[in-house]
Subunit: 248 residues, 2 copies
Amino acid sequence: MVPMESLFALPPKTGGRGDLVCYGCPARRSALCSALDDAEIHFLDAVATRVRVDPGQYLFMEEDPYDHVFNLSGGMLMLERLASDGRRQIMAFTYPGDFIGLGAGKSYSIAARALTPATACRWRMRDIERLYDSFPALERSVREIGNAVLAATMDQVFVLGRKNAMEKLAFFILHHMDRQERLFGKRATVALPMTRGDIADFLGATVETISRAFTRMRKENLIRLADAHEVEVVDCDRLAQVAEHFDT
Amino acid sequence: MVPMESLFALPPKTGGRGDLVCYGCPARRSALCSALDDAEIHFLDAVATRVRVDPGQYLFMEEDPYDHVFNLSGGMLMLERLASDGRRQIMAFTYPGDFIGLGAGKSYSIAARALTPATACRWRMRDIERLYDSFPALERSVREIGNAVLAATMDQVFVLGRKNAMEKLAFFILHHMDRQERLFGKRATVALPMTRGDIADFLGATVETISRAFTRMRKENLIRLADAHEVEVVDCDRLAQVAEHFDT
DNA sequence: CGAAGTATTGACTTTACTCAAAATAGGTGG
DNA sequence: CCACCTATTTTGAGTAAAGTCAATACTTCG
């Protein structure tokens, strides 16, 4: 079994080619950075700050003034919203290459918290907006990222509004399998570094319901669990069917 | 009681000033169109088609090729997603001035269906994208609209994932009160032209649960119902408290 | 090794769903 | 304008899925 840590490895401090960190960055081909070519990327690099967050720590919190955007280069974050009475909703789990900081208003409406050790590039909104003027492709990329994030959020709305516990969890596992295949290639297991509570707060359920759904999937031989955070999908097609429709 | 129809009145066929429909359009100050001034707006007008949809009819459907965007000028639409087994999730109810057509991929991921008689401006995506090159402010507007829509969709995620029936409905009524106040000014009642079933499919519940929540709010004197589609909010602050937290 | 956090399981409760029926509203044609 | 038909809304009664509370097992990490 490949240790999960290795999947979310942090990027090297220096690039492989030339002198720019960007050249060797695992997020170089991400939706944001790929908008600029190797000749242009140093404009983005010049106004970037590299930040690092340890598990459990926040990249930003809900009330922080909304004046920076980020591109995750290594590790995994979760974007969460907390209500005054303690109820929590997780909006997304983010992977290397993901752009973070889409929003409106004067403060963030979500907090970004590290699930694994993570590194990100940070830009002041003002600097990014100035770059939009020089590189329209950059603004186009951000707009398209926004469209993709919106589409994913609408998927989540459907799942939360209209799916039961088994369907929700099947959707969740398949989503992460897909993301991890794209990033790391096909592998034996799906890594789920978040807790059962985190999954519950993403899917609009309770820890117990999620735990029972895992157990049920295991018993019905849809998945195998090496440990709580390593899921082997036994029958992908059948799991996809479950995600589509499951009745008792 | 002001008839609901009048709120969603369709725009006049010709503008009030000059020869451009845009000049007299109720959506002239909308997030999209206000990106261009009176001198520039004719570039947008030149490639626009005006379309009209009757209640129950579709502006576009889920499978249609995704190659047009719209700006609603009059009436109300709902954006809905349908699953193969008949389950439906409504993503939004749109008001005059709303931009419609944010998304990703080759076909729409939602359908847009008229709730009242509605009119909209339609543009081919290709034409709009060409205008982005000449008017960066237009692309900026669309990007910002996307951010606002994403924020609203995240609110919906929280509501669906973490709120009970009474909280959901309180949130829903207050949302539409707010939108209608902004558009039409403060008025005695909130117009809800959609059916109970539509509300249920927006809030991730059933018709019966929504109907019972309305009845309960009426009995607790939070609202009064002239008829099923005209809600008078008796105590706005208390309704806001209910939206925040309600227990039995 | 012990402590703390996390995960699972069990027993019971509750909220919302389902099915069914009655009441109400809306629209059409006579 | 009224009667009838249909769709919508409301209400009731019973059920089921998920929530709550509590105990136990398992991990991780100092």
